[in-house]
Symmetry: C2
Subunit: 391 residues, 2 copies
């Protein structure tokens, strides 16, 4: 334990173009906001910043829910928060699984002693509502959970369909919006969503570290009526709500500077406007796909089920997955994502999220990918840039 | 949901002197580090930054433990991490309680189905080892947990004493170092501590958002031998260790920019040197106490049990707690802490943690407090500044 620790050569992060499944690129305004002086978690100034953050977050979720806050952990902490607060041991939970993040929900439900009803859909496709209808026939589950945009496959599901199913069977409707919030229209009040959670590092373009959640009236009622304490003290919304609400009762020290950054990222969204932002995501997604298909590549997900912010591209035969990703990162500073689980080695996941969703990103990526694929012997057809810019 | 959200008047944080129970003031270097570009959580550059962070953290904990990492949540998440990973339903856990944070541990143990053996000590005093010896006589608890420095009272306990007790009964020895790590000597390998956790926002002087933990061989063995899954997916160290270890297996997206700030705060500590840093904390604590006692104020905790970084001052008779704290904050930009639980209204908690522990803080605080107390009719005796500077 001597002081040679000071002899380290320290690593500094490069300016990557973040086109993986998140984090996305963070605007300088957000980074600068995080560098504001740290103040106390009960300082009246911080309490005002909390209120402003909640108002902006309600705007983004399009909700009136009082309990609309960033949880003090990354997206998976948000997932865990929603499940541990809604499910007591023995409660039946229907989990729709069409990718890695649905699987993750089933693992959490099992750990906390919930009675799991797992409905498996096809990976790379929207979740089929009829599968769920058949599986729950005659049952009255406590909760029905679906992943809006499966980050592992690039497909999105129809939230209105699952809202109907949840209403029919009386279940609390929980939606994972980690990838979609800020990039697709998810008006949670209009969609009758009872519980929603997301992450900051995807279409909100704030560094990872917080997880926005919103609990509606039905969720609050379930929270009040619990017979057992929430198994997690840290994520117990019955207590955390008193810190974010009018009581201002200390629970745990909030991540102060992350909250500054998050508020700034939400301000950028409010300034752009939701509709404009969603259209921007869609436009650049279409441009990317037009370019890729012109080159001769194909997408994993059928057109109508494709997420605009996460594009799953089939890796062409004979092309080395890892070599391509390394060449993009080392030669061009572009990060893209690998496939997960059964899709490992079969797809690339290319994000166009939040601040990253620009025509500049699309054109640079298409150009770099074409160059790298050529070096791998893949004959890309000409005209990708023209096709992309014509969208 | 219209765009009037852009008409907000936004609040910006002032440059406070943070002399509460944490967060402490953050050095500009740390804030600037957090504003570095966000990169991916599997980027080779970030993996290098993770390794450097772990090496620096091992230096601070004075340990060789491989699993020495920042957990992706604030200090209470670190507490929960240690308890949920070590305790399975039915396992007996001895929790020493001499303040709010001991109570918090008992709550977590009960939520996760542990068999709680609570030993109550006196609030405002070191935990008495004999109380624990008597309580566990003839028992073989799975775990023994003690809070090194009780942030709620300003007292610290003798870690070597509890190490002997844990060894005698074969228990896993867990220590809360939220307040002390970085400000007092806590060489966890030498002290035979199996599990330690802390926060970033106290003597490490990084904004809140991460919780440094270290698991020793006995803890790793307990983790391997578990019969039930860890109830928290997010905090399951059996999985998180594969991301921080050589496998680099994705678990959850790490808080990237918080990690930059944390690494920079650890570098500052390494540059200063541990011994110098501990002496600095002690010196300014002594200066503060000399000034306060000269003024005619008195401390809650007996001299030998006082934390150097958190000073519990008895509120003099006839002085209004809230008015004094408000006057310090609004008139001088100084934040101090209120009493918690049974000590609410009876003490002020004045922190001299990390970057805040300077003679400048001591002198400004004494001067401001004297001014405010005079306006409350309290007759401070003269000579506080002279007494402080003479230390």
């Amino acid at each position: 334990m001597n002081l040679s620790i000071n002899d380290f050569k320290y690593t500094y992060p490069s300016e990557r173009l973040l086109m993986g499944p998140g984090p996305s690129n963070v605007a300088p305004r957000v980074l600068q906001a995080m560098a504001n002086p740290c103040i106390g978690h009960l300082d009246p100034q911080f309490l005002a910043i909390m209120d402003e953050t909640q108002q902006l977050l309600r705007f983004l979720f399009q909700t009136k829910n009082p309990l609309t806050i960033p949880v003090s952990g990354t997206g998976s902490a948000g997932m865990e928060t929603c499940l541990v607060n809604m499910i007591e041991p023995g409660d039946e939970a229907v989990i729709c699984v069409n990718g890695v993040f649905g699987v993750r929900m089933t693992e959490i439900v099992q750990r906390i002693g919930g009675k799991l009803l797992r409905v498996d859909g096809e990976w790379g496709r929207a979740m089929d509502p009829d599968l769920v209808r058949r599986a729950i026939k005659g049952k009255q589950p406590k909760m029905l959970a679906v992943v809006h945009g499966e980050t592992s496959t690039g497909a999105f599901s129809d939230l209105a369909e699952f809202a109907s199913i949840a209403r029919e069977c009386g279940a609390i409707y929980v939606v994972d919006m980690v990838t979609t919030l800020g990039g697709m229209n998810v008006p949670i009040d209009d969609l009758n969503i009872d519980v929603a959670y997301s992450g900051t590092q995807k279409c909100i373009s704030c560094p990872p570290g917080l997880s926005p959640i919103s609990f509606g009236p039905k969720a609050m009622e379930a929270l009040d009526k619990r017979k057992t304490p929430v198994v997690s003290w840290y994520l117990d919304m019955g207590m955390v709500k008193s810190y974010w609400g009018n009581e201002r009762k200390y629970h745990h020290t909030a991540p102060i500077n992350m909250t500054y950054g998050f508020r700034e990222a939400l301000r950028i969204i409010a300034e752009e406007g939701l509709q404009t932002r969603f259209e921007r995501h869609l436009k650049h997604h279409r441009a990317l796909v037009a370019g890729l298909e012109t080159m001769g590549l194909s997408m994993l997900v059928p057109e109508k089920e494709r997420l605009p912010m996460l594009n799953a591209i089939k890796i062409p035969e004979g092309v080395d997955d890892l070599q391509v990703r390394r060449a993009l990162l080392n030669g061009f500073g572009i990060e893209i994502g690998a496939g997960l689980g059964p899709l490992a080695g079969k797809i690339w996941r290319v994000g166009l999220m939040g601040h990253t969703s620009t025509m500049r990103s699309v054109l640079l990526f298409l150009t770099a990918l074409e160059t790298v694929l050529k070096s791998q012997g893949f004959k890309a057809r000409p005209g990708a840039i023209e096709a992309a810019t014509a969208v």
